[in-house]
Symmetry: C2
DNA sequence: GTATAAAGTTAAGCCCGCTTAACTAAAAAG
DNA sequence: CTTTTTAGTTAAGCGGGCTTAACTTTATAC
C-alpha cells in the first residue's frame, strides 16, 4: 500500500496532463477554421456571454483598447460570425451576438474538445466512473464558489 | 436524492469551469512577461521536452515552417531564454535548451497556474480531499494510457 | 564519389493585431 | 442648456508571425 499523494500533487498532475492535451486541440481547431486566435477567442467570449455582450466587454476581457476590439469585431461581422446591433437602452453601445454560423463553429470546437473527455470516461470501469463523477462534482462546485468570492 | 449525472456530463462541466479559469491566467501571464504567445508557447514546449529539442520538433508541434521556427527561436536566443547548440551526433541539427532565465520564467508561470488549483484543494473537507485525490489519480492514469495508444 | 535528401538560416514581403490620435454621437452631470 | 464623460469608429503606422524562395552545410543513397 502506497500512501495517497497530497491533494496538491494530484491536482497538479491532472492539470498538467489535461492542459497539455487540451491546448493542442484548441489551437489546432482554431487554425483549421481560418480564423486567427484573437478572432476565435472573441467568438468564444461572445458565446459564453449568452446573448448580451458589449464592445467594452471584449476590450476589458482581452486587455486591449476599444479601437482594437472594434476592428477585430468588424472582421467577424464581415465574416458573418457576429451580429452587431445598437443597444436600444443606450444608443452609444452595441449588442454583440453570434450568428448561426458563429454558433455552429464554436459548438463544433467545444464538441471537439469534449470528444477526448468522453473517450476518457468510456475507458473507466463502472466503479471508477462513480468515483470520478462524485469527485468532479465536488470540484466543480468548489471552483464556482471560489470564482464568486475571488 | 438526485440521480448522479452521467460521467460525460461531469467531465464536461469540470472542463468548462477549469478551461475558462485557466486560459485567463495563462494569456495574462504570457503578456506580462513581454513575450508574445508564440514565443511563450515555444518556451513551454522546450520546457516539457526536458533537455533535447530540435528545431523541427518546434515547427512540427506548432505546424509552422522551419523558417518560422528558426526566426522565433532566434528571438528567444537573443533574449537569453534559450540556448541553441549544435547536435554532435548530427551537425545539421540543433539542440534547444532553456537557460536558467528561461526555466525560471516558465516555472513562475506554472506556479501561477498551480496557485488556483491549490486554493481549490484547500477549500475542501478532509473527506472530499480523499475522494478527489482518488478520482484524479484514476483520471490521470487513464489519460496517460489513452495518450500512449492514440 | 557523386547525387539527393534533410536541418537550418536568411531575406523579402504580406497580413494581422495593436496602439495612438482624431472624431462622432449619445448619455450624465452641473 | 452647456459641459463632460462614455461607447464606439476610423485611419496611420509599428512590430510580429508566417510563407516562399534561395542558400549553406551535413548526412544518406547508389
Amino acid at each position: 500500500m502506497t500512501k495517497p499523494p497530497p491533494i496538491s500533487h494530484s491536482l497538479r498532475a491532472w492539470m498538467d496532463v489535461f492542459m497539455h492535451r487540451s491546448m493542442r486541440g484548441w489551437t489546432h481547431f482554431a487554425k483549421s477554421t481560418g480564423l486567427t486566435m484573437p478572432q476565435f477567442s472573441i467568438l468564444m467570449q461572445v458565446y459564453h456571454h449568452k446573448g448580451v455582450c458589449g464592445m467594452s466587454d471584449i476590450s476589458e476581457r482581452f486587455d486591449i483598447t476599444n479601437a482594437a476590439a472594434s476592428q477585430l469585431v468588424e472582421k467577424l461581422v464581415q465574416g458573418e460570425y457576429i451580429e452587431r446591433a445598437e443597444d436600444p437602452s443606450d444608443r452609444r453601445a452595441k449588442l454583440l451576438q453570434l450568428t448561426q454560423k458563429g454558433k455552429d463553429l464554436i459548438e463544433a470546437s467545444v464538441n471537439e474538445r469534449y470528444r477526448w473527455m468522453d473517450e476518457l470516461g468510456k475507458s473507466l470501469s463502472a466503479e471508477e466512473k462513480g468515483k470520478v463523477v462524485e469527485a468532479l462534482t465536488i470540484l466543480t462546485e468548489a471552483a464556482k464558489k471560489l470564482e464568486n468570492r475571488g
